[in-house]
Each structure stands twice: as C-alpha cells, then as structure tokens.
C-alpha cells in the first residue's frame, strides 16, 4: 500500500529486507525544503501581525520537519510501530506549553465578590 506509492524496492544484502527509497524522492524533498526556507524568510518581511507572522513561520517549520521525518527518515511507508514512535515525542511536547496558560492568566483578577 504505502510502499508502492514511491516505488520502493525491496532488496537485501545477505538477509533481512530494507525499504529503499529512490534517490529521486530524496532530491524532490530537498528542493521542497529549500523552497520552504525561502518562503519562511519572505513571509517574515511582510507584516501579518505578530501572531500571524509567528503562525506562518511555525507552520512552515512544522511542514519542513514533517517532510524530513517522512522522507529523509523514511518513516513514511515504514511499520505502524515506527510511525507511532516517530510521532509520540512531537505529540507530547506541546503538553508542556500548558505552562503558557499560567503566564497568560497571571494578571486576571477574580470577579468581584468571588473571594
């Protein structure tokens, strides 16, 4: 299924099989990564508001990271187990950002009569 999509070969030296990603996939990924890098620089020189600019920059960075994980690190087309472990760190990390809630609500004042 997944493997077929980028015509991976199954070959192996001696024993055990490996999914070999064709070099063309690597080169395409590389080119897209470069384009995205230019895009992220270009975006910061235009004003979309602080939140907008940050959102764009982080969205592009996340896309780039996803490409690296999927193609360079060959996670796409590998076993579900590998996919799970490739994602688990990236998925858990944002939990830490719950800390931001603390800083964002520091100055809030309880409603009068609340205490």
């Amino acid at each position: 299924m997944e493997h077929g999509s980028h015509s991976s070969e199954i070959a192996y030296t001696d024993s055990g099989a490996a999914h070999i990603t064709p070099p063309s996939t690597y080169f395409k990924t590389y080119v897209i990564l470069l384009v995205l890098m230019v895009a992220t620089i270009a975006a910061t020189f235009r004003d979309f508001g602080t939140v907008g600019n940050n959102a764009i920059a982080m969205a592009i960075a996340t896309t780039k990271a996803t490409l690296v994980v999927a193609y360079f690190m060959q996670v796409k087309g590998s076993s579900r187990l590998t996919i799970m472990w490739a994602l688990i760190g990236f998925v858990t990390l944002p939990f830490m950002w719950a800390t931001m809630v603390d800083y964002l609500t520091r100055d809030w004042i309880p409603h009068i009569g609340w205490q």
């Binding site: 472990w85 858990t92 830490m96």
Partner: protein, 567 residues
C-alpha cells in the same frame, strides 16, 4: 494436575543443579562487571540500590532522632537541612526510581516475554555504570560537604544563594538521569519487539504493561528534568541563566519545568509497584486479575494524565489562580485510574483462594496504604485545602504513604515473590511474615502522626517546633524504629537464604507465567527453546503443570481446589 502427581520438585531440581545457571557458570569479578546478561545486571542493580536505601535510611533515622526534641539538640540547622536533602535525593533518584524497574524489571522482562535477553544488553550494562557513576558523584558531594536545598532544588536558592555542594550533586543527578533514560529505551524496544510468538498485548502480564507505561514516562519526562537541572548548573557555576530574578530570570519557570518531570516521576515509582501487586495478587488468590483490560487501560491513562497535573505542586507559589483551578481539576481526574486499580484488586481478592504468604501480606499492606496515600493526594489537590496543608507534614505524610507504603512495600512484595526465581532458594517464610507485619505497623506508626502534625500546622523541613507537637514527633520516631527493624530483618534472612535457604525448584508458588517455567535460577539464555504462548495471562483456572509441593510442606491450593491445607 494435582500436586501429588509430581514428585516434589526432585526431578526438576536435579536437572537444574546439573546445569550451569546464570549465577555460577563463570564468576570472576570481571565476568560480573562486564556482563551483558540482564539477570546479572539486575543483581548488580540490586546491590547498588540496597546500599542506597541503607544510606537514605541512615539519613532518615538521623532526621527522626533530631525531631524527638523541639529544640533541635542533636545537630545544627545547617546539618539538619543537609540531612533531609540527602534523604530525599537518595531515596527518590537513587532508590525509588530505579528500584523495581532496574532490578525486578531487568530480571523478569525477558523471562516474562520469552526472550533470551533485553533488546540492548550492552546499553543495559551502560545504564548500571551511569547509575553507579552518578551515585558516587552525587553521594560524594552530599557526604563531603552536603547539599541543603531539599530534593526539589528550587531556584534561586539552589542556583545562587546556597553555600553547599549543589553543582556537583547536580552533575551526579544528570548522569543518573541518563541511566534511567537508557533503561527506558531498552524496555520499550524489548516489550515491542521481543515478545514470544503468541504473546499478544492482551496476553501480557500486567507487570509488563506497568513497565511499558513507566518506560514511556521515563523517556518523555527525564530529559526535561535533565535540561532543567543542567540550566541550574550553568546558572550556579557561570552566574548566567534564566531562573534567577536578579538577572531577569523567572524562578517559577524552574518549578514548571521541574514538576513537569517530577510529578510523572511519582508514577515512575508507583506504576512498577502496581505491576508487582498484580502478579502477586493473582498468584495468591489463584485468580485472574479482575478486569484485566481495565487495568491495562488505567495504566496507560495514568501515564498520559500524569503529564497534565504538575501544576498542583505550585498552587501557592505564584502560579495564576486560574491555572491552579485547571490543575486541581486534572489532579482529580488522575486519581480515577488509580482508584480503578484498587477496585480491581479488591475484586480479585473477593472469593479468591487467598493464601497469606509473606508477599501477599506486603501486597495487602500496599493496597490499604496506597489508598490512603492516594486519597490524601486529593486533599492536597483541592485548592483551598492545599493552602492550609501545603509545606506541612500533611504533604510529607501523603507522599510517604504512596512512596513508602506503596512503592517500597510493592518492591518488597516483588522481591520476596521472585527471590526463589532469582536465587533458587526460599527465604524463611515465618521471619518474612514477621518482617512484613513489622513494616506495616511501623509504617503506620511513623506516618499517621504526621498527618495530624501537618493538619495542626507543623511545617516540613523545620527542626525547631512548638512543644505541643512533641508527642506526635516522638510517636513517629518510635514508629520509624519499628519500620527500620522491618527492613533490617529481610536483609539478614535474604543473605542467610543464599546459603541455607531451602531449594526452591522452578515454581514454588505454582504460579502462572513464563518466568516460572524455567529453572531457578535461570540458565544463561533463559529458555532452551523459545516458548509459544497460547494462553492468557494468569490462567489460574486451568491446572498448572509446574505446581510443586511448597517448601513448608503446605500444598498450594491448585486449580482443582483440592487442597486448602495452606490456610
């Protein structure tokens, strides 16, 4: 198969005696120190953490002795601060975190999974060396000079003002943190990939599930505390950093990052103990664990929710009120999966053929004490109540109920249960029951008064206190002596049993589980032929092939319920 049908262990014993096992096949010091055998590494860890437990215990006794008097006669304030810091650091980072995973887990994971070893045997050895190195560095710093920050290392005291050996201790902890990470990675890979054919996730012993969840927490949490302590180290040595308010930093951020690990870390300590309880309980109730899937689910739920409640340690330290509310609510949720487990254990005991062996007594102690510890955790999680009890002995009592009454009793239960497997010898059952009873009584006498003390307002980490608290402190110290005895006795009889204990045979408890199908002690590669698993975990309702006559001549009640002479 009934017990009489098998000649009492003789055949199996002769077989195992004639073959070299992991303990005796080659035993130069070099063979032990360079071993990659998970069983030997488990023994190395066992020795290390026993030493650590002893050191932490000595510090604890010093604290308790000091607190018998309201005027602090025995030591200076400074010494007292160093004592409780050493106690906390040693017990948490060097005893409880590695206790069950690194000894019992290391020993049993491959045996329970039907594998020859862990996935990465050399990393396993590395883990022990990192642990030892970190331990020597941190202990060196704490003994020669001392550290007075408390185990929590709150900034800016730890990073700027403290005049003690904080930096070196942090280096030690940093290194020890990596030993725990390495173990976690090893367990994850092992549990995923080294299971015997047929051993599906729903057939795994719950001990394995517990270690899986624990490893996930280790892998996700420990790096965060490592980087946090690393930043404190930099701030302390170079005076540049992000936690000291005098140079623009933010000490509350330290607390967030510290507790992001250290709350989940309490589950690193308790989950493996819960895993042990499942195994022991099933064996001595001769029943499948009630609600197996719910126990699996609650294990994972604890791992997940455990990462969302760290703010409950910061209700009164300047965290916003609204964040406090969220963390309070989430803390109540995390208690639910813990409660599910307690209900499941209770239901397992119900109508089981309970056999009050020593491990079972530890186990029952665990269930009761953990329940108290968990419920008082909810008191601490209630915002307004915590304003009153925060930084008092109430919190101290809460976490000792979960960590000593829970994790440590679980560890002892497991150690007794698998001791015959690890050494091939039985411990003296009578003495073990006495020790288990002493530990239970001593524990309650030590820590129950602390709930009262805390409620009355006795702050933690102080050694001068109003005279009216003295009676409770004296009670607590008295209890701690009983507790110490309860720990000392097993040390003696375990050592004694190595030489004089009765031969155990492969399966003295008639327990289910792959680890009981191999020789005791196991041979170097555990299994002669890799097993194929076709049965569920805890299949106590089918006759058990390896059930043999127990050492004390009490016949285990087997599946046919033929014999109840053990009662």
């Amino acid at each position: 198969m009934s017990a009489e049908a098998i000649p009492p262990g003789i055949v199996l014993e002769r077989e195992s005696a004639s073959r070299p096992n992991y303990l005796n096949w080659s035993h130069s010091v070099k063979d032990w120190l360079l071993t990659t055998d998970h069983k030997r590494i488990a023994i190395l860890y066992l020795v290390s953490i026993t030493i650590m437990f002893g050191l932490g215990g000595i510090a604890a006794m010093a604290i308790r002795a000091e607190l018998t008097s309201p005027h602090g006669h025995l030591m200076e304030s400074d010494t007292y601060n160093k004592m409780f810091t050493m106690h906390g650091v040693v017990m948490i980072f060097f005893f409880l975190v590695p206790s069950i995973p690194a000894t019992l887990g290391n020993f049993l994971l491959p045996l329970m999974l039907g594998a020859r070893d862990l996935a990465f045997p050399r990393l396993n050895l590395l883990s022990w060396y990192l642990f030892t190195l970190g331990g020597v560095i941190a202990l060196g710093a704490m003994i020669c000079g001392g550290v007075d920050t408390g185990w929590t290392f709150y900034t800016p005291y730890s990073s700027i003002y403290s005049n003690s050996n904080v930096a070196v201790t942090l280096v030690g902890l940093f290194i020890a943190g990596f030993s725990s990470i390495v173990t976690g990675i090893n367990f994850i890979a092992t549990i995923h990939k080294m299971r015997a054919p047929g051993l599906t996730w729903t057939r795994l012993p719950l001990f394995i599930w517990a270690h899986y969840a624990t490893s996930i927490i280790i892998v996700l949490g420990t790096p965060v505390v490592a980087v946090t302590l690393g930043l404190v180290l930099v701030e302390r040595t170079l005076h540049i950093g992000i936690f000291d308010p005098a140079i623009g930093g933010d000490p509350i951020l330290f607390q967030h990052m510290f507790w992001f690990y250290s709350h989940p870390a309490v589950y690193i300590m308790i989950l493996p103990a819960m895993g042990v309880i499942n195994e022991v309980l099933a064996c001595f109730c001769r029943k499948r664990i009630f609600g197996y899937t719910f126990v699996c689910g609650s294990t994972l739920a604890i791992a997940v929710f455990g990462f969302m409640v760290w703010g409950h340690h910061m209700f009164v330290t300047g965290q916003s009120l609204y964040t406090g509310m969220i963390f309070s609510a989430l803390s109540f949720i995390v208690a639910v999966p813990s409660a599910i487990k307690v209900f499941n254990w209770t239901a397992t005991i119900y109508k089981g053929e309970v056999w009050f062996s020593a491990p079972m007594i530890y186990c029952l102690g665990f269930i009761g004490l953990f329940t108290i510890g968990g419920l008082t955790g909810l008191y601490c999680s209630s915002l307004s109540v915590d304003v009153h009890i925060n930084m008092t002995y109430f919190v101290v009592a809460h976490f000792h109920y979960v960590m000593v009454g829970g994790a440590t009793l679980g560890y002892l239960a497991g150690l007794h249960f698998w001791w015959p497997k690890m050494t091939g010898r039985m411990y003296p059952e009578g003495w073990a029951k006495v020790a288990a009873g002493l530990a239970f009584v001593g524990f309650n006498l030590t820590f129950f008064p602390q709930f009262i003390l805390g409620y009355l307002g006795m702050p933690r980490r102080y050694h001068y206190y109003p005279a009216e608290f003295q009676i409770w402190h004296v009670l607590s110290t008295a209890g701690s002596s009983v507790l110490a005895l309860g720990y000392a006795i097993p040390l003696v009889y375990f050592l004694w049993s190595l030489k004089y204990g009765e031969k155990a045979g492969p399966n003295p408890w008639g327990a289910a589980g792959l680890e009981w199908t191999v020789a005791s002690p196991p041979t170097q590669f555990n299994f002669d032929e890799l097993p194929v698993v076709t049965w569920e975990a805890y299949n106590y309702d089918v006759p058990h092939e390896n059930a043999i006559v127990d050492h004390s001549k009490n016949v285990l009640p087997d599946a046919e319920g033929a014999s109840h002479s053990a009662h």
